[in-house]
Symmetry: C2
DNA sequence: CGACACTTTGAAGACGATCAACGCCGGTGG
DNA sequence: CCACCGGCGTTGATCGTCTTCAAAGTGTCG
């Protein structure tokens, strides 16, 4: 998992391409803050005041429907940011709640900081643009999945991405979030998720408690989705990527 | 509908904030090209070579699943762009097909043009960023809809946005695309869409052929989704927006 | 040990996908 | 002018999947 303690904040994708001095200038305007598990960063309707960089832990972004249903828009892991889209669109208020789902550390910046510096440092704007458009891309692909794949397929695809993006050992790793949270993130009920996990055993994925085993990497291909833009996200994992999701020439869509 | 013939290309959101001379410099690198209805701009697997600005008509972006199913990712209307995300992420090949669904005119630019100029003109990068992140936002919200709303609700929400974004008369307008295309865009089968349209009559929306009537604007609120980021998209339509989707204080989620 | 959150499992129901048939319309060709 | 065709949309019936409701099981932490 990518971590960003004050030590390695300089390695964040958001700041890539900037000189060390530029990074210093930028970072010094931020303030590190810690959130306990289950503590809110902000809620629906709050004024947009801050841009956050999550350094450690994870933050759930979610909405509630009038009938009390909770809908997770995204889970922001360490190294990613919150609020960029809202600020650049000059949205006055937040359209979702943000709550820490682990003990979390985040650096916060005033919105003016982001607006000014994304004009001053075009590379910063580009980095943010890339991150946001990638997130949007993922959202589009997942919307597609929801329309074309069964629940077990979606789960398998999610687990595969999880394993690759977080650099977990495919032969055995623990889920980083509760099953309830993951189910919500995938837009399905916890019961469906639970049953889906059970079914994955027939397809070479075993789940015992929170532990996941890809016991047959070949069979993973049944679920591999060549459109999930895993490709350019962690360039150092070429090998694993080749093992897990081997896009076949001419193949489109999700199997 | 926003049109961008060579005359009004200067008014595009993408170029907003640039001087007339800067616009000239930028635009002169482009080449206008016309596509007949049903003509492909590119297909899945093609090299990413160009950045497109759709001036007139509309372009469907879609994938095909291995079992021959067609999945529409998006419909790009006049004034919007194609390829920005791919270029900024240095994707080598296209992950979807692009086909004109009307007679269409588009200006095309080499990818280097976009890369260089989004560094040179940070405002251009910001504009593109805003457009892309808005598109991603919409995708996320629609994914949410797919998980929380019934088919008729999704259709109503779509029609409402359509009416507002294209500046149609809510008391009667024609669908700009075929029902088949819209159904695909919403990720549902044409049969489901057709039945959904029929049901909307009980809720104050009448459809006769391709013509849509919001015969009871008050009832629209039953479907209005306060999270659909219509708000900052066409600033000139405050009044209509107030009529159609009136977000209530403290209200979250989709009704 | 007991409280509580989280997860699993079962059974019933709702919704959308699928399959099939039909109506409608515009175009083509005899 | 009519017959034929293909694309498009509607409607009906059936089926599979996911949600919902209900209950029991598991784990953790005081």
């Amino acid at each position: 998992m990518q971590r960003a303690s004050p030590d390695n904040i300089r390695t964040l994708r958001l700041f890539s391409g900037l000189s060390e001095q530029e990074k210093d200038n930028l970072i010094q305007a931020g303030r590190t803050r810690r959130y306990a598990n289950r503590q809110y960063l902000f809620v629906y309707g709050d004024q947009v005041r801050l841009f956050h960089i999550v350094c450690d832990g994870a933050v759930q972004l979610f909405r509630e429907t009038p009938d009390g249903h909770e809908m997770t828009s995204d889970i922001i892991a360490a190294g990613d940011t919150i609020g960029g889209a809202e600020i650049l669109q000059s949205q006055a208020t937040h359209r979702f709640n943000a709550i820490a789902v682990k003990d979390t550390a985040a650096i916060e910046f005033p919105i003016a900081w982001l607006k000014e510096n994304s004009k001053r440092y075009s590379i910063l704007a580009l980095n943010l643009l890339t991150m946001l458009s990638r997130r949007g891309n993922t959202a589009m692909i997942e919307a597609e999945h929801k329309a074309t794949m069964t629940a077990p397929q979606q789960i398998a695809c999610f687990l595969e991405r999880l394993c690759i993006l977080h650099d977990y050992d495919p032969h055995g790793f623990d889920l980083p979030y509760s099953k309830t949270l993951i189910a919500s993130r995938l837009g399905m009920e916890i019961e469906t998720f639970s049953r889906g996990l059970a079914k994955l055993h027939e397809h070479g994925i075993t789940i015992r408690g929170a532990r996941v085993f890809f016991d047959d990497i070949e069979k993973m291909e049944n679920y591999a989705c060549s459109n999930c833009s895993i490709s350019d996200t962690c360039q150092e994992h070429e090998l694993l990527r080749g093992q897990l999701s081997r896009p076949k020439p001419g193949r489109v869509g999700c199997a």
